[in-house]
Subunit: 102 residues, 2 copies
């Protein structure tokens, strides 16, 4: 069994036909993933936090979309500059970032 | 806020460079996603269950990997023929499929 405190999913618009093309991808979602990875590594959280890129969540107009489980928190219109706050306030502090909630 | 009963994630080996290449993809994970979608639609569960394709979970040797949240259940070595059981027993019945657990 895999034991994680949080599992962060970031839409990078992967399609099952192998294309990566879509709104979240066009809005720097790959940079969002990379920024999450840096923050998690810098804070030495990689044993308990996983970051996974995904295909479309079906709400492209609200992208880039980030979903955090097990709590099932959905963030929308996320930018690279929001990542530090999500990690500090939600992942480390346990308090959802209300202004980014969907 | 998005309200889901279960969110099923299936690794299709999407990479953030846009390539879809890897063990889960080579082992028919795209067919696994399609089978999940058929089962969910046939059972009229699409309002409460979401299926999302993902990039690598880092345990390729145990792929294809399927992760179900919010309960955080990880299944490995999943085949297309296992999907009906996962949906019937776990998603509808609430009982984890022990023989597929990681």
């Amino acid at each position: 069994m895999v034991e994680l405190k949080h599992h962060i999913f970031v839409c990078t618009s992967c399609r099952i036909n192998g294309q990566q093309k879509g709104y979240c991808f066009s809005k720097e979602s790959v940079g969002i993933i990379q920024r999450f990875m840096e923050e998690i590594e810098d804070r030495d959280l990689s044993g308990e936090i996983m970051i996974t890129n995904t295909g479309c969540f079906g709400i492209c107009e609200k992208g880039p979309v980030v979903v955090v489980y097990p709590e099932g928190i959905w963030y929308g219109n996320v930018s690279i500059d929001d990542i530090e706050k999500i990690v500090e306030q939600h992942i480390e502090g346990g308090n959802v970032v209300n202004e980014l909630l969907l």
